[in-house]
């Protein structure tokens, strides 16, 4: 088994990470999964959550993703995120501030399409807040 895996995290706006790491933990829609070198080829959808990058058994970087897809091959793990931010750049107060607005949007939605979009945005914001509040270990 190779020791490292090429990890790439890209959002439509930029390429956040492209480096060899020991392990990444990706929040798949069916549950979190860790990816080491030599992982079986997998394609999974990603839910809103935190991607953790491990180096020598400890977390070295954490990113919040708002959903997307992950493609895993034995050599590389590519995460195509709808939106991705390093955890350090999330402003907790700002996220909390948007929550009431988003709840209003959900309540004020006139049709199904609008409601779906609003609920999605709310779920992402809530996941973001949960990620900020979660203990780092």
């Amino acid at each position: 088994m190779s020791d490292t895996i090429e990890f790439e995290l890209v959002s439509p706006e930029r390429l956040l990470v492209s480096e060899a790491v020991e392990m990444v933990v990706v929040p798949g829609s069916e549950g979190d999964f860790g990816v080491l070198g030599g992982h079986a080829p997998t394609v999974s959808s990603v839910r809103a959550g935190v991607i953790a990058v491990y180096e020598h058994g400890a977390v070295t970087a954490r990113f919040f993703v708002a959903g997307g897809f992950a493609e895993v091959t034995p050599e590389r793990c590519t995460v195509l995120a709808d939106d991705a931010v390093p955890m350090g750049e999330i402003d907790r107060a700002a996220v909390e501030g948007t929550l009431p607005d988003l709840r209003d949007d959900v309540a004020a939605a006139r049709d199904e399409v609008e409601k779906d979009a609003a609920e999605k945005a709310l779920a992402i914001a809530e996941a973001k807040l949960a990620a900020v509040n979660a203990p780092v270990y």
């Binding site: 890209v10 439509p12 706006e13 798949g28 080829p41 590519t78």
Partner: protein, 296 residues
């Protein structure tokens, strides 16, 4: 021979034109930098997306029940061309090169007996295509990406394309845009969006896994492909429009730069003419005075 006054008026008008073109050049240069950064930042995502889908397409090849967006509808009678141009002119050959490519494509498709539908993104493309192919233009979208292009803007275009495809209004979708290479060169590019066709990988890109790689899907393969394919349309359109925006500014900058230079040359020429005319007038007056004095 124009009079002194005519020359003066022309010089001042060319001078103010030069002011405008040089201001436009500066603005384009500033916008170009932003647009270029954005376009280059979006490239990795679109390229990875294409690779992932390319790998999936290879894996799904030949299997029955593959989604129509991946494998096509089995026909290619109705073509949809998404012609992406700028909303504004004064950017050299930018718009006309796209329109020229679109025209050639339409002509060859029509000759082959296909039905062509056109979706114009940007006002200039519509203006130029309207006369010849007005009936084929099904819709025009203008003012997309103002003040700056975001992913959400493009989603509305992509949604439209996806909906039309799902209701069976076309079989093949191609987008025509200008790929940004440098401020001087833009490359007119035709990219097929539906059915999915992987573009040739550029040198230095990681190779697509060999055919037959078996992927595990989480959740189901069909669910993933159903979500991934419309998304790919959106991402590829987003990339196309970003490249187009950067190309537009690049083309405008180059065009305005040469316009400024030409205006400068013209002012020089006109000033020489003006000075000659002035000297000729003075000489004429002197001759008149001298010959008048001699006659006395």
């Amino acid at each position: 021979m124009p009079s002194l006054k005519d020359l003066k008026i022309r010089i001042s008008s060319v001078t103010s034109t030069r002011k405008i073109t040089s201001a436009m050049k500066m603005v384009a240069a500033a916008k170009l930098r932003r647009a270029q950064e954005q376009a280059e930042a979006a490239r990795p995502y679109a390229e990875r997306m294409e690779q992932v889908l390319g790998a999936l397409a290879v894996a799904a090849e030949g299997r029955p029940g593959a989604p129509a967006m991946l494998a096509g509808t089995g026909r290619d009678d109705v073509h949809l061309l998404v012609v992406a141009t700028a909303d504004r002119g004064l950017c050299g050959g930018f718009n006309s090169s796209i329109v020229r490519a679109a025209r050639a494509r339409i002509r060859s498709l029509v000759e082959a007996g296909k039905t062509v539908k056109i979706l114009c993104v940007g006002r200039k493309g519509r203006d130029q295509l309207r006369r010849e192919y007005g009936k084929r233009i099904i819709d025009t979208m203008t003012d997309i990406g103002k003040p700056s292009l975001t992913y959400a803007h493009v989603e509305s275009v992509a949604d439209k394309v996806t909906r039309m495809f799902e209701s069976g209004e076309f079989d093949v979708c191609t987008v025509i845009y200008n790929r940004f290479k440098s401020a001087m060169t833009q490359i007119v590019t035709q990219q097929q969006l539906i059915p999915f066709a992987a573009q040739e990988a550029e040198a230095g890109e990681p190779a697509v896994p060999a055919a037959g790689t078996l992927y595990e899907y989480e959740p189901e393969e069909s669910e993933i492909l159903d979500a991934l394919l419309p998304k790919n349309i959106c991402v590829q359109l987003f990339r196309a429009l970003l490249e187009n925006a950067a190309s537009e500014q690049g083309a405008r900058m180059t065009a305005m730069d040469s316009a400024t230079r030409n205006a400068g040359d013209m002012i020089d020429n006109l000033s020489i003419q003006y000075n000659r005319a002035r000297q000729a007038a003075i000489t004429k007056e002197l001759i008149e005075i001298i010959s008048g004095a001699e006659a006395l």
